[in-house]
Amino acid sequence: MMGLPALVCGWFFNKFKGSAPSRQALVGGLVGAGGTVLAALILALLLVTGGEDFFGVAKIALVAHVPVIIIEGAVSALTVGFLARVKPALLLHAFESPPGQAHG
């Protein structure tokens, strides 16, 4: 539930990261936020399959994720930016799962 989005995002990051640090940071941020969105959606989906009794919980779970998504995006972007400056080797293609997925 948490690992799947990370893998998906890792793939996306490798696909679109480019080489410029600013672009990497941007993509990192989008991917970081996207990972959380996906995780939230999966959680909501699982809840919804439990029947209409769980709709309310699902909605609240989604709403509760919004600030997390924003923070996750910002932190991911800055972290990837940091890594691009300090240790670009970490962002190379050889690593299947990119950093920036701290909690994703």
């Binding site: 009794d53 709709f55 909605k59 609240i60 932190v75 800055l78 972290t79 940091f82 300090v86 240790k87």
Partner: protein, 315 residues
């Protein structure tokens, strides 16, 4: 959820109980307070227990010393994993509150038989408290109303209605979660982690996954210490978490640095492993033997599970 239709018409079918508004506060605050007090008490208990324990004799295996005591320690790891996992799935299929509580009772019984450490069990319970609380607080107010439901309405706040059915539903889920969580301790703590992982790998889980868990478990502690030292370093230079951009930037640096250091460490660890002849495998921990007793135990337990389910469906 806001109701657009007037309450009296919409709620023709459900049984309606009017309560003054202050009752709502009581109903929300009382469980929260009880829960808070419980959590504090548990924390205190755990602290006290861990403070009191003497340093055991580390020259003997901690688990082997107790091996003769409980059938769980002697149970074949593979059998144990399969049985407990299947049984857990059975528990999730329970729909009524009474069998769910029976399941909790059974789990407690298992804990006693397995001589699990109370402090550790409580710690695992603490971990799921937040999730359960969310269910208990949210579901009574959000489930759609059916005929035959008992609904409590507070004062003049028509949009706020407490559904007893939602409450029982949430309570059932909570009870099932607790029952399963209680089982995790006998599942994981009655054999050393490497042996449990060896059992998993024999059951078809990729070897690599087991090694990853083993190494993560070891290095999570190391990284946690590293992170704590780094955050101390930032605190000493006056960093405090605030809600501004600078904080986010600093946290990003902190995370990035943690990644870099962890990554460099993993490289060194891998080097150290290779230097000692690592070629993709950890040495096997123990001889795994499947005795007939193990299978009988598994069968008995699963029969109990099925009985529980039957009881649930008959209610």
């Amino acid at each position: 959820m806001p109701l657009k239709v007037p309450l009296d018409r919409r709620m023709a079918d459900p049984t309606l109980i009017q309560m003054p508004l202050w009752q709502l506060l009581v109903m929300v605050i009382t469980p929260l307070a009880v829960l808070g007090a419980g959590v504090t008490l548990l924390r205190w208990l755990i602290r006290k227990r861990s403070a009191e324990k003497d340093d055991p004799d580390w020259s003997v295996p901690q688990l082997e010393g107790t091996a003769g005591r409980s059938p769980f320690h002697r149970w074949d790891v593979r059998c144990k994993i399969v049985t407990i996992l299947v049984y857990s799935f059975m528990i999730t299929a329970i729909q009524q509150i009474t069998p769910a509580f029976v399941a909790i009772g059974l789990s407690c019984l298992v804990l006693v038989v397995a001589r699990a450490s109370l402090a550790k069990v409580l710690m695992r319970l603490l971990a799921i408290v937040g999730f359960i609380t969310m269910f208990l607080l949210v579901m009574p107010f959000t489930v759609p109303l059916h005929s035959g439901d008992t609904v409590i309405v507070f004062g003049g706040l028509n949009w706020l209605h407490f559904s007893m059915r939602g409450f029982w539903l949430a309570a059932t889920i909570a009870a099932k979660a607790v029952a399963i969580t209680l089982l995790m301790e006998p599942l994981l703590a009655t054999a050393p982690l490497p042996v449990t992982l060896q059992g998993l790998s024999r059951l078809g889980v990729p070897d690599m996954a087991g090694q990853m868990v083993l190494l993560s478990y070891r290095y999570l502690n190391v990284f946690r210490h590293e992170a704590r030292r780094m955050s101390t370093g930032m605190q000493v230079r006056g960093f405090r978490k605030r809600s501004n951009v600078a904080t986010v930037q600093t946290m990003a640096n902190f995370l990035g640095m943690l990644f870099v250091r962890s990554f460099e460490r993993t490289e060194r660890v891998f080097d150290a492993m290779r230097a000692r002849g690592y070629k993709g495998h950890f040495p096997d921990q123990a001889e795994l033997r499947l005795r007939p007793v193990d299978l009988v135990g598994a069968g008995l337990w699963l029969i109990i599970g099925v009985a529980l389910l039957v009881y649930d469906r008959m209610l």
